[in-house]
Symmetry: C2
Subunit: 337 residues, 2 copies
């Protein structure tokens, strides 16, 4: 049995959308417990329809002015999101789910948790769709560049998470080419180290165009690069959809056949639906934290809750810490950039 | 009248594809001159059908073993690509076009040209498709991270190139969010400086998903990020095409209507055809160098030749040097990261 603390604020939709999603999820998961944290006066009327495995905690939303991450460290910790962190820290919840901004979650993970000393800051891990199985990609957070040690720490996190699903997962480093001499020296040094890891199938470098092939279970990069990869995919697919949609609205025949086609397209692109992949893990501390996308609706929020349960069931936080311990120990005395 | 030196080697196809493309181009451009540089014994038979405004220079292909860029600086400079650089350096050609690897072209630009001292190394600039007009993006080359001064140098290059087409072009810095406090400090400092530039409409930060909106004439980034943006777009669009194509081949009705649809799709996505955008500028030295994509076929190679002529006609090399002089001068005494 796991207890999930859910921040009802943060994200674009708030309690009115998240509460029904949580009700449905915990009705279907009667052996697990939810604690819904938010501004109770906004939704007092719905509390009475609540499944018995949900508790409530009345806490105000984090003000917009407080979202500049550095300020969070100096504030009174009374908001819904900080209360979720308190619950997990004190062991009253096993994991928290929030749609707050990444920066806020990273700062609070550092404030309330113990980030593994081999990591500079927590890393953000997400699954991305491919032609075959989804691929785990990290860091998608605030590491603007990555030194060799950080790349190895990200690899440790990715390996721990992927190993829960697949033995000896394949791992590659994101680079601008696959030749050994390509890319920054920090990346080259990380590649030399990773070639010796026994628990992964190290594939060397991968270019951003080949991530989607499904040939890699884990792709490692700095957060700046990872962010660009994901957002560029999103933007370019939206561009091609728009061009296509304009074309299909050009005349009556196109409009008529376009209806049929849009149905086909929807079915074909279902595997890419971001709602299936919602729920990024804020990894590398002793707290289990799942970030939902800010624009997640019910189905997507459900995916984030599923991810939170899996994190508990697979004991991922402990597995990640152990793998980070091992890599940190192996790296002692190795000169890295 | 411009003289264009063309490296017939480099790239995936070589002389047998490039020679007919050049013949056609120079027949249509009788006031310009071409010098085709390559291993003459391979194509002696076609020389006789050559338009009168094409000359030939017999030089061997650059061996594969020599493509590791650092080695190029130590070698005998007798290959077709190095001869093209010699021609431009000595003023016998105004611009060169080659499908050689980026690394090779960057190294040779440094070897034969004078890179502006405000730049660390030449930058690679390419146009990318958007919903509206194409957007100029740089660096797409070998700058794995970029300091403030480099970002300003890239901005100077982009501004010079875009100003030849549009007065006061809009410019944005690629970042992981649009808020002023986001991203590395080098980027934040560049943003502070760019806000004072009078010849651009500075738009602040742009996320990779919004490049394709067409709201930005120039997007500035380090080469590592730029590479990921372009390749991720390529890979994700290929993924969605494949899923769609699989769906349309599922049954006879789908196959039949699929034929109609593929025709529509081809027409709709024509503005995104990479062949229209081929021809990246290796900018920032006193030499005019255009890189064609390694897999460019006739139509795409033609785009690169058109780009080479435009570079000469717009006197871009001089304009870029002048803008770099001005920015370097403005930056004297300004503390930047």
């Amino acid at each position: 049995m796991a207890t999930v603390a859910i921040d009802l604020h943060g994200g674009d939709f708030g309690p009115s959308l998240l509460i029904p999603a949580c009700f449905q999820f915990f009705r279907e998961q009667p052996s697990h417990q939810g604690i819904l944290v938010g501004d109770l006066k906004q939704f007092r009327s719905v509390v009475q329809h609540c499944p018995s495995n949900i508790d409530w905690l009345d806490k105000p939303a984090l003000g917009d002015a407080a979202k500049r991450p550095a300020r969070l460290l100096k504030r009174q910790a009374n908001s819904s999101i900080e209360s979720c962190f308190e619950l997990v820290k004190q062991g009253q919840a096993d994991v928290l789910v929030s749609a707050e901004h990444t920066g806020v979650l990273l700062v609070l993970t550092t404030k309330y948790g113990q980030v593994h000393p081999f990591l500079k800051r927590p890393a953000l891990v997400s699954a991305i769709p491919t032609v075959k199985e989804p691929c785990l990609m990290l860091d998608l957070g605030a590491s603007y560049t990555a030194k060799t040690a950080q790349l190895l720490a990200f690899s440790a996190i990715g390996t721990s998470l992927a190993s829960a699903i697949k033995q000896k997962p394949s791992l590659a480093l994101l680079n601008v080419g696959v030749e050994a001499f390509k890319g920054p020296i920090e990346l080259q040094r990380a590649a030399e180290q990773l070639a010796n890891w026994k628990d992964i199938d190290f594939k060397g470098y991968v270019e951003a165009c080949d991530i989607y092939s499904g040939d890699y279970d884990i792709v490692i990069c700095d957060g700046f690069s990872g962010n660009h990869v994901i957002k560029s995919a999103e933007g370019s697919m939206a561009l091609s959809s728009q061009l296509l949609s304009d074309r299909l609205n050009q005349n009556y025949l196109n409009k008529f056949l376009g209806l049929w086609f849009k149905k086909q397209m929807k079915a074909a692109l279902k595997p890419l639906d971001p709602a299936n992949y919602n729920g990024a893990v804020v990894a590398g501390s002793d707290l289990a934290v799942v970030k939902s996308h800010g624009n997640a609706r019910s189905k997507a929020f459900n995916s984030a809750l599923v991810k939170a349960l899996a994190l508990c069931q697979q004991q991922s936080v402990v597995a990640i810490q152990q793998k980070l311990d091992q890599v940190a120990n192996d790296q002692k005395g190795v000169i890295t950039g």
